[in-house]
């Protein structure tokens, strides 16, 4: 008989905005050296 896993508690996902606020809201990327890409 196959074993089922129905007793796993799903932790509530944190609010998306809270997660975003904890990390940087801006990420800079350098495109120098991307010859041929632009």
């Amino acid at each position: 008989m196959p074993e089922t896993h129905t007793d796993v508690d799903a932790a509530p996902a944190p609010a998306a905005e809270e997660t975003l606020v904890e990390e940087s809201l801006v990420e800079e990327v350098s495109i120098d050296g991307m010859c041929g890409v632009y």
Partner: protein, 115 residues
């Protein structure tokens, strides 16, 4: 990015204590700001891409609220007023002010002179 990080300190390794960087200007939340005229903003599912045609810097804005803030800066007397108008809470405010300071440093936003 590496160059920007190295710009944060002096040549002899002494930390720079001012918010002014060689690239941009100090960010004052009480001052009037706007999206830089040399910057294009493209909405994306995660927020937006911003590209500066002058210094060729590219940044990701990873919050749609931040995108709204950047777009609305020119309509308000100060960055602080913009944050309030866009619904940024007191708890979120430090992260958004840091984000705007980062954008000022990379010249994505500029201080308005008409206010």
């Amino acid at each position: 990015m590496r160059r920007l990080l190295s710009d944060a300190g002096s040549d002899d390794g002494t930390p720079v204590t001012t918010a002014v960087s060689p690239a941009g200007v100090a960010f004052d939340p009480a001052g009037p700001w706007q999206r830089a005229r040399s910057v294009a903003l493209r909405p994306e599912p995660f927020g937006a891409l911003v590209y500066h045609f002058g210094n060729r810097k590219l940044s990701f804005l990873k919050s749609k609220t931040l995108v709204a803030v950047v777009e609305a800066l020119a309509e308000h007397p100060s960055a602080s007023a913009t944050l309030v108008a866009c619904g940024v809470t007191e708890a979120q405010r430090p992260a958004y002010e840091k984000a705007l300071a980062d954008l000022a440093r990379s010249q994505m936003i500029e201080r308005r002179t008409d206010a």
